[in-house]
């Protein structure tokens, strides 16, 4: 019974997918030109084009701005609290834990000497990604980091920080010379150079894909689990769907934290590798 039902479900789903019925899932994950606040209505975002580019404000851009706003407000509060006394209170405690975590657990061990220069970038990166990840978990929210354009841009910024950090420390030629490991036969040099050069680009590419895939997958799984209710058209699947979706949701909270950590951690690691090439 169950098997026939579920195979039927797959068929239904295939059919539904074919007839654009999965649109609602993708709609949730993909670019949207409006803020869907159902049942309160839909806010249409301004669209404009400049120099032949589509510079419309999308849902993800709005949520990035919300993240910026939240972060700025939170840190203004934290700064005020520090001006009053050195003892943290309230939200400052939370922010301080994260700041100290990024400083002592991410930047200091991976970059080592001279990590202070990269701390503002790493902290901003961590808090921005974390906030964006969490904004996707609140009702009517949307995960800006589940957009490949956003994650690719963040990874590109990370790429530039890595290269500029390495070049500033080791000099332009010194940096590229340092990319090639010592003690390899000289006829391997051209190949190694190409490989290492490619490595420079694969690192941020992996960063972008990892963040994007992790933040997208959870949402799609939740949507799919809830979608089962409508596809199977039975109430019996409701407890299963809801409990699984809840589990995935809790997992997503974890993933939101872990991905912010991993992105920052790996960026920091790559910066450290570019900065101290002798290691």
């Amino acid at each position: 019974m169950w098997i026939s039902d579920s195979s039927a479900a797959v068929d239904t789903l295939k059919e539904a997918a074919g007839s654009q019925d999965t649109g609602w899932i993708m709609h949730h994950v993909l670019y949207a030109r409006e803020l869907d606040l159902t049942p309160f209505g839909i806010i249409h975002l301004p669209q404009f084009h400049l120099f032949g580019m589509d510079l419309s404000i999308t849902k993800h851009v709005v949520f990035m701005w919300i993240a910026v706003l939240l972060l700025v407000l939170a840190f203004i509060a934290a700064r005020k609290s520090y001006q009053k006394s050195l003892i943290p209170r309230g939200i400052t405690n939370l922010l301080e834990v994260l700041i100290v975590f990024v400083r002592d657990e991410i930047a200091k061990p991976t970059i080592g000497h001279g990590f202070e220069k990269f701390l503002p970038y790493l902290l901003t990166c961590f808090f921005f990604i974390l906030t964006c990840n969490f904004l996707g978990l609140i009702p009517w929210g949307s995960t800006a980091t589940s957009n490949i354009s956003v994650t690719a841009t963040l990874a590109t910024i990370s790429f530039f920080v890595i290269q500029i950090g390495g070049i500033m420390k080791n000099g332009f030629f010194g940096y590229f010379k340092g990319l090639i490991p010592h003690g390899i036969p000289f006829w391997l040099l051209p190949i190694m150079f190409v490989v290492e050069l490619l490595g420079l680009f694969t690192k941020p590419f992996a960063l972008a894909i990892r963040l994007f895939a992790n933040m997208t997958a959870g949402h799609i799984v939740i949507m799919a689990l809830l979608g089962l209710i409508f596809i199977l058209r039975t109430y019996f699947v409701v407890p299963v769907s809801i409990s699984f979706a809840l589990f995935i949701f809790l997992l997503e909270i974890l993933v939101a934290l872990i991905q912010a950590y991993i992105f920052t951690m790996l960026s920091s690691l790559f910066i450290g590798m570019a900065y101290h090439q002798e290691h």
């Binding site: 649109g23 994950v29 993909l30 670019y31 949207a32 934290a78 400083r103 901003t124 956003v150 997208t216």
Partner: protein
Amino acid sequence: MLLADLFVVALAGGGESGGPLDVNPGVILWTVVTFIFLLLILKKIAWKPILKSLNERESFIKESLEKAEVAKKDAEKLIADNKQSMLKAEEEAKKIIDQGREYAVKLKSQILDESKLQAKKMIEDAAGEIERKNAEAYNKLKEQVADIAIQSAEKILRENLDKEKQIKLVKKYLDDLSKN
């Protein structure tokens, strides 16, 4: 299986806004702008002052701990010194008491000995005196007894010389006696 289907559909462009791997230049631009803006503003309002405060506090805590450590060491040294001096004082006091006790015992035995000696001497003296007095008294008695015997003998002898004289003598004697 379901998800795979979904994803294939999604990648094939199931939605009206394109697939999830489509890159939107507008979003890229906005991300760059947003991130750079956030980086600059947070660097100014948050990272610099907060990191400074954190460092300040850390160095303050470190200093306080070091100070506390030093103070603790000082206090420990002081306590050890106190203990030592107390032990020393105790030892000294004990020594003094012992000395006093020893002295007292010595004094006691000395006094006892002395007094015993004195008493013995006094007893001896007293015994000697008594003996002497006894001898004296005995000698006196002896002399007296001799005297009396001689006198009596004399008187008896005189009486035997003559009657008249004897009577006279008795009379005189009696007179003497009555006179006395």
